[in-house]
Assembly symmetry: D2
Homo-oligomer: 458 residues x 4
């Protein structure tokens, strides 16, 4: 492949600094960046005048074609990666569940088979480890070999995913031995279960009660415990979707004591709040953890700006509105919201344009940091000669609104419906190939590749 | 100026990642970086095959043509910046002393006059504030206006530089108000004075006693106090030349409490140790603070690797050997050693090649961080289109020895005489112009410019 | 009652200082203390020359006539309090289990009925709260009314006692509201259960494996979590039987952050160690938590001396040797050892005589502190006019050995068999009445009273 | 001496608890305490019905017959100890200044000579160490031998007392070696000097500017530095007269890190505030450190209640009103106020009666703790048989006002003039002998003895 694309005259944001100029791709890689690169021998010129040129986003937390054992999303890898492409997300890190009786390798193989021929952008997989018999902890080594060096675990969701403290500690110890990062969904199972049962017993099962079923303290206690166990095991832990400021503060205090824990949050916890459960469409915001009071979002923005939160993932789940409203009871409503396609405009608008974070910080938490933490840097997460030509041309001058009509998901809704956004995605390149132009998907199903990732340094 | 230089096929180290490829300059700036940039229209091609291509070093702590009021170095700006150029240091940050009766602006003007027509590389100035009458603290604002937004102060050296805690606090408060960074030479004056007097009283004035005159605790106590006063004033402090691990640990603990303090160290504290005072050439290592026991160097390397030390400066002073041996008594020997020309090979050899720090970390502490902290990023400290074409081509395959015969300083010695080094500097570019080739100075006196620097973000 | 007893010429240890002199009782109370109290009108004179005169011990953690739902000890309140009397323990704080379906008041009534007519020394009760339905948390108020203002809970022992984090938090919140102290047996249930199951699966069920079934980390993690939940609820927690130094250090760190948690340890964790599981009589040391490595005992002594451990209780359980050896498998062996009668000589010998703690500290942790914490000071825990005449005359000159033959328990063994002790108990007074003389029980069953205790200050 | 005094039926406050009953003395000591001690053979019976019976106060910080080298108070040991006696202070700890050229022993001898035949209550001495030549640090051992095991030092007051950090550190190291406690007057000399000079330069020398001359931060910085140096030396430090809450908080943080530092405050910093400098009698409140804003007093009360402040001393200085108003300029007005005679009623009224501290806490900080810290417990600071019969009978029912007319000082004023107080001192016994009855001094000049004190335990 010898196609060359020249993106001209944009404001190019890289970890080495921001400059006004050009980016040239050659084949799948960045060939050069410069102030005025020569236009000869170029197959296409993209005019980025007035636009930002960003490294493609790396979403560390995505659930495409999800099967929880109870619920299944209606999308597939084609739909999901098409939405990613149109959201400027050129790398999705999804999950491979180890279903009962499966080895870790089988869990990965299942997903590879599912993806086969469908992915429009590159993807990696984190394995959800659900079974780790005592004595077989070294099976985690497989994950390193297969380029998926993380173990995702849950401290809640009996009986499917729930991992008690004994198993958690064994995972941490084995992970520490093999250098694997442990990703943790941290909520105290007893607190969540009891709160839910009390609501059910009281007949309070309509959607508006959803947040009450999952107290903030349940998340904070679990984070506190996870940091303790990680420290004991000498392991690194990555606590997904911090939804309260207190969660991040607990992890920050652990970091100050030298414990290796990382915080992730999601756009929904920064931008939305629990007043929506009282609104017209509570079905749009059924997710775990739930939305929190407005003040928590403010705290999370501040912790994101100060560096205590390292990454922003979407926790994207493409359930349909039909699934969401099938019972109108929170205990039987699948949890999870779509986010892949809206994360960049939302984070730009409510983060950068609102003055809460710098443009460089946005790139750091949505691209560079996930690439580093998950062993893909500098192939992903930067703009440097030789890195994959994953690029987003974003026009910050455009003013628009989020509307489900423009999205590529199958769910039929977005929780951000009608919200104003500043800027729009003009072009997205995935390994040198345009996959989205002005909201239209122009990529190829099947071109996305599985990323064999290495152990990250820290 | 339309000269174009193409540096081909090196391992280019940038904050955005490291890649194998080319860097093209145009005039004074980086024009492009790429995997295989076109060679047409190029005035010179530098073959960097097998070499590293680094951003020019930014030495934050240099004393060229120094007049302490008591001693004067014998170099001038021509000599000093020639040495810098040949050491890969394309930006020197030196000092402008406010002598008695002078305004801060006069202090700067004096230095500008001295430099005029002599500098071979770009330079900035930190003003040594020695007089800040109560009520006139706002004069510090001048420093912002003149692009030198730091105040350097000393907690020792009576009567010339010494600033007592009242003045220190007033400087901190005024600095906080105007966003100025306070650089502090931190040693407890009473401890240093008393230790010196006791040695003199005991007739222990030969050079071997030098280190005993300046106890490690004197530095640590002052750092502890500086952090307290900075916190009270809401100021940012930069503690120069941390020579003991304990100093940095005290500052690190302050950082964990949210106090804005930065640690600098120097190659001599990492690489040399106080056993040299018992050696053949104690005159080579008379400097303040003195060399410390070997274990301190080990601690400092570890703190440099872990991020607790942000910058490495040389504290370069080009006294002559004659000055050094004139009395052979430490109280009357000028303190300070040359370092500009040896810092890169030494840090590469004893840091990177020895496995103590990564190549990326070397670039960070010797180029990117000083550029950021002192308000010059991304003009300096990175390799990105549009940044100044300050570049070093370093060949890591070469094996050699430090030898005074190859240096451009006037002092006639180097404390590193005979030490083995891995690698050599092939070419140095300053704003697009070669200033050193294979050890030979090829620059132009007078081409170096004063850098008007801005307030840094953090 | 107008009996007067004069204890003459002893070394009287009180929180107000230690003096050589006399203590006079009148009826049930201390009448006077002095240097040479008048001997007229005295019914009995006890010569304490060369002896220590201590306030009667207050054992905060005792299980007389225990019914766990699975096992029952073979003693009754007569046996247990006789042993207490002969051990210098004039106040026992035992437990009242809330069995399924019972109110808290019924739990207390059961025990009152059992005790009726049998107790030889005063007793108080802590209620083991096992059922606290949501919405009925205020029932805890009953405990204040009935003079038993503590709630004892377990984080392990499914299904009888186990309390999950939701219930634990609700107990903490209700306790905080009513000023009640929460006593916690802290071991991570999942870790203990899993370790046990793995040993069973491996056929490792002989007694020597007992300690492996209950890892130290299980205790430490639970202490860490308990401190977190107590802090969230604003409650006070008292963590019983700290068996590892790490447990106490975790609680000490919490205290430094202002969290109100108290540490208790037991003589067995200070004096014995896990090498006994490899010895001739592992059945003597089956208890929960198990004995730990020797270094833990050393740490605990140090934490006891420095003030981080507030109390020493015995966790006395009088199972018979027959019960202990019935299966020779640890999972089916009742846990718990006798201790009431040996705690004072052991703590004096291995603590005071060995120089690890002062005599005053012994009195503090075995008498004054438990009396203060559990709302009985200055009635118990001191020697002051008007306080209960609970006194121990201890002769430190005597040298002897622990031997089951001299004990008043029914179990038929002591884990301390054959250990040397320094000193012996000469006389014990309970509310002015001798209950033990030179090892012989001389008290009256039924004279011991239920102590209605008040909320303690801190 | 065989006098027996029976104090009947009071509320007796001891560290072992509070009881209603009697205290009997015999000769110089407590003979007995009891509920109803026999009245036969008693020389005097004091009816304490409705009254408190307290251990005599131990004032750790007193300046009787003070000669600062510049100013002299007009009292002598007769006047000063008479005031102490009438204030319930039965032990005064005063200072012996090492004047230029004197040994430490000579400093003590000077004071012994002055006191000879005059003291009405017992006294101890802390030596103000002003000269400690390098190499002679072991002279501090003398202090242990002479029963005055403290070194008092100043971080301010040039040139008389000022000790720079080098000397301070040497004192700390020598003190650590010999177990001596270092008492520190902590104010940053440079800050105090500069603030004073600026006020003088501005012509602001009237008394109302006094507080501005000694900023709160000067005290806080010095406390921070003292804790650091004490930690380095392994010494124990006692920071006198904490006048700001921040000072105590800095020391409390040091304690949490294991540094052995003790906080003292004075009634004036708890009860008075800096609004008095704007009032009618600024001359009444010229003292160092000065009075602070009202909020600081509130913080200090809270820190006193929570245990962070260990002792309350008065810093008593009996300058005359003539001396105070001689120039009406603060730089030439002797600093220091009388306090010995008013501390108990003030602390009872504004502490205990106002609900800020308990009665037991008052006794702890004004009697038991100073006795323990300064090596006199249980001879002083408690009520226990064998301890010195130093007792205060205080009637809390009385309501009165502070008035200079009732005081025994020579100064002719009190800063508390007209303030209401709850309670009055009925009788004070010093070693078994009444020294004050209802405000009238009835003691004997010369009966007070020098207390040879031992090293305290902690």
């Amino acid at each position: 492949m010898s196609d060359r694309i020249l993106i001209r005259n944009g404001l190019v944001v890289t970890p080495a600094g921001t400059f006004r100029g050009d980016v040239m791709t050659h084949g799948e890689e960045i060939l050069a960046i410069g102030e005025a690169l020569p236009m000869s021998q170029v197959d296409e010129v993209i005019d980025a005048d007035g636009c930002l040129v960003l490294p493609g986003l790396v979403d560390p937390h995505v659930h495409i074609q999800l099967d929880t054992g109870i619920y299944q999303t209606k999308d597939d890898w084609g739909v999901g990666t098409r939405a990613a492409a149109c959201g400027g997300v050129t790398t999705v890190l999804d999950f491979a569940t180890q279903f009962p009786g499966q080895t870790l390798e089988q869990a990965l193989e299942n997903r590879w088979n599912e993806v086969d021929g469908k992915a429009a952008v590159d993807y990696g997989l984190h394995v959800m480890v659900t079974d780790l018999p005592a004595g077989e902890e070294d099976e985690l080594r497989t994950l390193v070999r297969l380029g998926a060096p993380e173990a995702k675990v849950y401290t809640t969701y009996r009986p499917n995913y729930y991992m008690d403290d004994d198993r958690l500690l064994r995972v941490f110890k084995a992970a520490a031995k093999h250098g694997i990062l442990v990703m943790v969904h941290a909520e105290n199972d007893a607190m969540v279960s009891a709160a839910t049962e009390r609501l059910i017993a009281a007949g309070k099962t309509s959607l508006r009660y959803h947040a009450q079923a999952r107290p903030m303290l349940a998340e904070q206690e679990a984070a506190h415990r996870v940091a303790f166990l990680a420290a004991e095991a000498g392991a690194r832990a990555y606590v997904v979707h911090n939804s309260t400021g207190g969660t991040t503060e607990i992890l920050a205090e652990a970091r100050r004591k030298g414990i290796n824990v990382i915080s992730e949050t999601c756009p929904q916890y920064l931008i939305l709040d629990d007043s929506l459960y009282e609104g017209e469409h509570p079905e749009w915001v059924i997710l775990q953890p739930p939305l929190r009071p407005r003040r928590e979002g403010a705290k999370l923005w501040s912790l994101l700006a100060s560096g205590e939160i390292s990454t922003v993932g979407t926790d994207h789940c493409d359930y349909t509105l039909e699934q969401k409203v099938s019972t109108m009871k929170f205990p039987s409503t699948p949890g999870g919201i779509p986010g892949l396609e809206t994360s960049l405009p939302l984070m730009y608008t409510y983060g950068v344009a609102a003055g809460r974070i710098s443009l460089e910080r946005l790139v750091e938490v949505m691209s560079t940091n996930p690439a580093r933490i998950f062993g893909m840097f500098p192939r992903k997460g930067t703009i440097i000669p030789g890195s994959d030509a994953d690029l987003v041309v974003y026009d910050p001058r455009h003013k628009g609104q989020i509307s489900v009509g423009r999205l590529h998901t199958v769910g039929g809704y977005t929780p951000y419906e009608g919200m104003g956004v500043q800027g729009t995605i003009r072009v997205v390149l995935s390994r040198g190939k345009p996959v989205c132009r002005d909201g239209e998907f122009v990529g190829d199903a099947g071109r996305g590749r599985y990323l064999e990732r290495s152990l990250s340094g820290s």
